[in-house]
Amino acid sequence: MQVVREHRDDLVSRVRVLTAVVTGLIVAIATGFWFTQLVQGDYYRELAENNRLRKLPIKAPRGLIFDRKGRLLVENVPSYSLMIDRSRASSLDHSLWFASGVLGRPVADLQQILQKYRGIPTFKPVLLAENLSLSEVARFGVEGLEYPEFEVEVQHQRLYRHREQTAHILGYLGEPSLDEIETAKGALQPGDMIGKKGIEQTYDADLRGRDGERVVVVDSRGQLLQEYKSIPAVPGKSLTLSIDLDLQQEAARWLDGPEKVGAVVAMDPRNGEILALVSAPAFNPNLFARRLQQADWQALIDDPNHPLQNRAIQNTYSPGSTFKIVMATAGMTDHDFDPHTSVLCTGSKIFYNRPFRCWKKGGHGTVDAHAAIKLSCDIYFYTLGQKMGIDKIAKYARLFGLGSTTGIDIEGEKRGNVPDNAWSEKVRHQRWYPGETISVSIGQGPVLVTPLQMAELTSIVANGGLRVVPHLVKDAKLPPPERVDLDPEALRIVRGGMIGVVNEPGGTAYGSARLPGIEIAGKSGTVQVIAQAQRTEEHNLPFKYRDHAWFTSFAPADNPELVVTVFAEHGGGGSKVAAPIAQALYAKYFGIDNGKPPAN
């Protein structure tokens, strides 16, 4: 054996120990890989995928909306949003401090906004502020190198040029609900804006177009490395409405102001085109174009007059004396009364052991159909109503379209109510009292209509018995007008009575709706809100106890082109309050100076 005098055994044992230590460290590092790759693998895979491809949506510009004469009602304007990629911020506090300085908003506000995004991965940019001014955009652009976490995104925002004036027609946009996102099957993303009301809602699919997409390869600095693929956006289709902006604005001006609550519908009785549809009070749809502020929303919700409601289609009211159009036509069509049947009005008459009064204390004397409409004689219609009975009244009311929606191309339409025996049994679980028929005969009681239904009803009278579908979009595909089973002669006599209302001395709107050069026919209505006995002078009453005012009309009387229905909630007398508004619209439409100062 070789003689080794060197100490080598100690060295060998130390090598063994060190080898064990190193092996242990390798195992520890392998455990580290195991943790990173198998335990956290999903997390990193998502990060890697985000690294690789970034989908940049190309937003399809939403279609524009024009009035019938090609005037722009809604357009798209660029709006700048501030996004923050929190993963890129070297110090979030510092970033927010900088943003707060530029935006002029307290840091605490911005911190609160970021709180909401705590659950979202930090590398996903989140919205910090909207509607940046151009100078703010410039500041973030200039300081971009120092604050790479900020990104300014350009979006297109709806600008409703005429704000409240077209609010209920055009509607507004909002973020889609989770349900809507699901049913859209990928066409909608959270954060998109879709039509929530009005035309924006009904024609959303047309207006929205289809978003495109750029898929780009970026590095984690967000620098574009190459474009992967690009799908161009398909711009939304533009729409032309049947609305006439001049009429729309005229109507809106009349209903603008405190205690102005109501609706105006102007419609072409020949084809159902809506030329004006106004509900008051209205709201500013531009508030919805940006993300609605809580305070603004609360104000809209809390407003006792509910500005978001479209009174022309969503609210139902007693028709009052305007219902006499239905009654007269029904009575003559059904031959309960002929045009010459006369009723003696002494101001009051007993029905079912109870006195019913005419609105005119002294009575109208002997009235036939024409006079009954012109003078709006209650006793005549009580008598007719008693003869017909509620079921027959209901049948004719339905022929006029009451009790069902008109089919207008905006959502939310109410059906109103046409009472009859069956309705009473089914809904009220009690028998119909014959006395109620007397009330219904003059449009009181449980009969309820929307202003649009009233315009529809008036159209049927004006066009000689055709039911047209009211619509807002000019070349909407519609079923052909449907002939309604009403006696044309009866309709002719009713039209005559309505001409009398406006143009014959004694007519209820004789002084308030006449227009030189054009013959207007109409019917006023006043709906009592509180019982006659409690009444004092109208203008002394608190707003909420005042009467509702109706005026529904058409012109020119011999060849109607336009139906105007006005409803003023708590407006007072129909002929006094509602008729002048209709008159102003006709003046505008026919280009006639009615000799009165314009509204407001």
């Binding site: 063994r16 390798i26 693998g41 890697a48």
Partner: protein, 380 residues
């Protein structure tokens, strides 16, 4: 039968062929196999890593591996005792080349550590490291006492400190740090009193804090800070840690497939053919790939340790320990860095990472270790 075979071995005297055959047949299979497999995996991974780069580093690396194999044979065939005898000369040459780098070095990435000779560039610090290892092994082997005396330790530290400081002021902190495992590994094996070890650790802490304050450049300090809190600078130094962790983590168990790693193919990974080659591997081959590679390193290291243990003399043990310590450090540090355990610094992975000097030095190191092994029975 038995008698015949016995008579054959007995009857023939030792020829010149006998020791040579024994020389080749006694090559440690585990060591050479793991090294060659790692080099092959390295070549494939370098190809994948550089597929999106302006040049494919695969042919170059293949060239380096070929040169490395030649150097392996040369360094293996030279008796390590000859190398130890020459170590003083090699050490001085190493120091001179390091000083030369300080004077005429080509700058690469903020540090001047390349020396250009004709078309050839190499890093003298790599060769100086081997020379230092040889010199230190010779010094410690000659001491022949159970535990080192303080004076001897100081001498050993001085031998290593000279080239280390020269590399550090290039400045190449990663390269300088590579001298530490050499020194520590050899000192630990040569024998240090526990009391002294504790003192050294404490001194080390003081030194590190001193280095932090006075020795580190801004970007180096930033790297360390970023390592401690990568979120603070995701676009700067933290970018690399983050991208590496994303690459590794997203590889999951089986990986994304060869050449399919999005992190590397889409150029998110920095230095992916060199320092972050393991990230590419982890991304494309998953945890199974990483575990295999770490297993090969464990095989390499344990094989080398076995060679040290059965080495013929103290010098052989210490030389193998010194060389394998450097490899251990590279493997441990680089793999820890790739998963984000330690700050990023330019420490590549032996046999896997692309690099001329580095590949050559690994094969030389392997050759020396094998040389020690095949001479375990040979008398001087």
């Amino acid at each position: 039968m038995q008698s015949i075979s016995g008579s054959i071995t007995g009857s023939h005297p030792l020829t010149e062929e006998r020791p040579r055959l024994r020389l080749l047949s006694s090559i440690d299979g585990g060591l050479i196999l793991s090294a060659l497999l790692l080099a092959a995996i390295g070549l494939a991974t370098v190809h994948s890593a550089s597929s999106e780069m302006p040049v494919d580093y695969f042919p170059r690396q293949a060239g380096w591996v070929a040169i490395g194999l030649v150097l392996l044979v040369i360094s293996m065939s030279v008796d390590y005792h000859v190398l130890l005898d020459l170590s003083v000369v090699l050490y001085v040459l190493g120091i001179v080349s390091l000083i030369g780098v300080l004077g005429f070095g080509a700058k690469h990435g903020g540090a001047a550590n390349w020396l250009r000779i004709g078309a050839f560039q190499f890093q003298p610090s790599e060769f100086a490291k081997i020379a230092t290892g040889l010199f230190l092994a010779r010094y410690l082997a000659g001491l022949n006492n159970r535990v080192l005396e303080f004076r001897q330790i100081v001498t050993a530290v001085a031998i290593v400190a000279l080239p280390m400081v020269l590399v550090a002021i290039e400045p190449d902190m990663g390269g300088a740090a590579m001298y530490a495992p050499l020194l520590i590994g050899m000192l630990l094996v040569a024998g240090i009193r526990v009391r002294l070890l504790v003192t050294a650790v404490l001194l080390g802490i003081v030194l590190v804090s001193g280095l932090w304050t006075f020795g580190l450049k801004g970007y180096q300090r930033q790297r360390v800070l970023t390592f401690l809190a990568p979120e603070t600078d995701p676009l700067g130094a933290g970018y690399q840690v983050r991208q590496s962790k994303i690459a590794v983590g997203s590889g999951e168990l089986l990986g994304k497939g060869y050449m399919q790693g999005t992190q590397s193919q889409l150029r998110f990974l920095p230095a992916r053919h060199t320092d972050f080659i393991l990230s590419v591997l982890a991304e494309e081959w998953g945890f199974l790939g990483v575990a295999s590679v770490l297993g090969l390193y464990a095989l390499y290291i344990s094989s080398a340790a076995r060679i040290a243990i059965r080495a013929r003399d103290r010098a052989g043990i210490l030389l193998v320990v010194g060389l394998i310590s450097i490899t251990c450090f590279h493997v441990l540090y680089n793999s820890s860095m790739v998963v984000g355990f330690v700050p990023i610094t330019g420490i590549p992975l032996p046999f896997l990472s692309y690099g001329g000097s580095f590949t050559m030095i690994n094969f030389i190191s392997l050759g020396i270790i094998l040389g020690v092994d095949i001479r375990r029975y040979v008398n001087r």
